[in-house]
């Protein structure tokens, strides 16, 4: 293999790893949009809070990584259900704008609450993965990256099975498809919504813990959610496979642009590229790659 090709493959591989992170973040957004049509602006806060909780469980209370992750996931699920019950259920049937605004209010509230509870310092997550990287056919990948990829893949498989075969999953798909019909079929949409928020927050927790492994844990972690927006749109707002593919595509494109164009042109093309790609894709496909095209009747 030539060094040029190796360089390309290396960029590609790390792009996939980053893409998995984007996909994890996007997944939570898409779950909620699919079921309830709400863009949850507080998603970034949940990511950050989960990362913080996991950090504190490990650093302060000396839990092992696995127990800390489990506790964090349980807390996140509880937060999701509580959020739905306390904040969103009163808004059932209200205009969608008001509901989205509620999530903006929630994000302001949660961010400050996190500042009060966890402080404003930068924390470094005690990563449980070995530091030694792994070499696969000349490509270097860290253990963290591999674990992020593995957990994303696992999550996707679990989701696939859950939505395809479980009763609750079926109920969720039904509700997402048509709320009224679902109600008529005897599905408790209230319970479905609570469940959806719970699951979405769990994916946020997993994303948060994965991010904590590669980044510095601080309040600024909330803004990573914005970097996943292109991934959500690229895949189409209502498509779970779309979120995964969107995340991976954006991750790879970003890294390739960073590895080649940033050198040549300079000036941080890397950060703008996802947004330009997003804009161009929307010009061609107004509902993203896998989005549900709405057929309207007057």
């Amino acid at each position: 293999m030539t060094s040029g090709f190796l360089y390309f493959m290396q960029l590609f591989a790390s792009g996939i790893a980053v893409g998995c992170l984007y996909a994890l973040i996007a997944l939570g957004f898409v779950l909620i949009i699919k079921a309830t049509d709400i863009l949850n602006f507080a998603h970034g806060e949940i990511i950050m809070i989960s990362a913080m909780i996991c950090y504190f469980l490990m650093a302060k209370y000396q839990f092992s990584f696995l127990t800390a992750v489990l506790i964090t996931i349980v807390i996140a699920a509880l937060m999701g259900v509580l959020t739905e019950r306390l904040v969103l259920r009163p808004m059932l049937g209200e205009p969608i704008f008001a509901v989205v605004m509620i999530t903006i209010g929630l994000s302001i509230f949660l961010r400050s609450l996190a500042g009060i509870t966890f402080g404003h310092d930068n924390y470094v997550f005690p990563s449980p993965f070995p530091k030694e990287p792994i070499h696969l056919a000349g490509i270097t990948l860290s253990m963290t990256q591999i674990w992020v990829m593995v957990s994303t893949a696992l999550l996707v498989i679990i989701f696939f099975i859950f939505f395809k075969y479980s009763r609750m999953g079926l109920a969720m798909r039904g509700t997402a498809d048509d709320q009224e019909t679902a109600l008529l079929m005897g599905i408790s949409t209230k319970r479905v919504f609570a469940m959806v928020w719970g699951i979405a927050f769990v994916t946020a927790a997993i994303a948060g813990i994965s991010l904590a492994n590669v980044m510095v844990v601080n309040i600024g972690l909330t803004f990573t959610a914005i970097s996943a927006f292109p991934a959500i749109i690229l895949g189409g707002l209502e498509s779970i496979p779309g979120a995964i593919i969107g995340g991976l595509v954006i991750g790879v494109i970003e890294n390739l642009v960073g590895g080649y164009l940033d050198q040549a042109i300079g000036g941080g093309v890397k950060d703008v590229t996802p947004f330009v790609v997003l804009f161009l894709i929307l010009m061609i496909k107004p509902y993203g790659l896998f989005g549900k095209e709405e057929i309207e009747r007057v």
Binding site: P90, P95, A98, M101, G105, F109, S112, L113, L282
Partner: protein, 350 residues
């Protein structure tokens, strides 16, 4: 014989009258007098906050025209404000144009770019449109940083002092009158716009775009027009911002600012003029008000001293937004409507 109730209207014109009753005229007149005398009794801090509110009101009106009236979600509002602010900064400090020329140019440049953005966004709806406009904002921020020959890049750029026919507006209270006049003009302009054919077309597009088209509303033209007018107003707000701050920087106009304007119009009430005003004033003044209350309670209860965390202010602000919206999804305008009705129908309130 006709027995007329207070809200009885006989013609469509009466329904769209600028001032519905004489009392509204009186109240508005009194309110304007109060505002006009503000520099006599307010201190610089209060005046400065009102100045910021004026800018926010203008910007929020522009956004409400696009989102509240036409139903086109945009997260690029901060970008258009930035365009306006930079146009004013460059024309006033590098070219030396007078303020009215700068403001018109700010609006014009922003409108031209808004027109340009509106055309490719025609096919997009809802969140997809929001994201497309958001990416425009991100790209523009980068352009402002990179094109440093023109914009000063990360060093920021100074805005020349404003002067009115040779008379410099160099203090907060002088700028205040300037901002107040523009704000009133913009409010009147938009209020008039939405009761014309154009405004009705916007509302028709918001409510059901296909139905509107069937009825003969040219969607393409009106959507692009909404983008253009909204950007024009945003450009003017940007010019006002530039003159008030005296120094602008790309980081003043981030996505978070766009979200803040979105918050203003939703908290205030979508698709209402009064709502934009309420919302803008709410978002600007309430955090300061909470701060003041917090300071005050710290003085009252000495046990709080030193233990208090500023984050509580912001948390309270977020909570307040949520409570208001859960209480009334129509925002502050809806709450205002409720209060008014209960007064009007007193004692038969229910």
């Amino acid at each position: 014989m006709v027995i007329r109730s207070k809200t009885f209207r006989e013609s469509y014109y009466e329904d769209i009258k600028l001032f519905q009753t004489v009392w509204i005229r009186v109240w508005i007149f009194l309110f304007l007098i109060l505002l006009a005398t503000l520099p006599l009794w307010g201190n610089p801090y209060v005046i400065y906050l009102i100045n910021l509110s004026c800018i926010a009101v203008v910007a929020a009106l522009g956004l409400n025209l696009l989102i509240g009236y036409t139903g086109q979600i945009s997260l690029a509002h901060a970008a258009f404000i930035a365009i306006g602010a930079y146009t004013t900064a460059i024309l006033s400090s590098k070219v030396g144009l007078p303020f009215w020329a700068c403001l018109f140019a700010s609006g014009g440049v922003a409108a031209a770019i808004g027109f340009g953005l509106g055309i490719p966004c025609l096919r997009l709806k809802g969140l997809y449109l929001a994201m497309a406009t958001m990416s425009f904002g991100v790209v523009l921020e980068n352009v402002l940083i990179t094109w440093d020959k023109l914009t000063g890049g990360v060093r920021g750029i100074n805005v020349a002092k404003i002067s009115l026919f040779g008379y410099p507006l160099d203090s907060d209270s002088k700028i205040y009158y300037f901002l107040l006049v523009i704000t009133v003009l913009v409010i009147l302009g938009i209020k008039n716009l939405v009761r014309t054919r154009v405004g009705r077309a916007f509302i028709a597009i918001r409510d059901r775009d296909i139905a509107a088209e069937v009825m003969g509303v040219n969607i393409t033209a009106y959507k692009v027009m909404a983008f253009t007018i909204s950007s024009f107003v945003a450009g003017i707000a940007g010019g006002m911002y530039g003159y008030t701050m005296g120094y602008i920087h790309p980081e003043h106009f981030t996505l978070l600012l766009s979200i803040q304007y979105l918050a203003m119009i939703i908290v205030g009430g979508l698709g209402t003029i009064l709502g934009s005003i309420f919302g803008a004033v709410f978002i600007i003044l309430v955090p300061e008000l909470i701060k003041g209350i917090a300071r005050f309670s710290e003085l009252l209860i000495p046990a709080l001293k030193g233990k208090y965390n500023e984050e509580w202010n912001i948390a309270a602000f977020g909570l307040l937004i949520m409570i208001f919206l859960i209480f009334e999804a129509g925002g502050l305008h809806g709450i205002w409507g409720r209060i008014k009705t209960s007064f009007k129908n007193w004692p038969y309130t229910y």
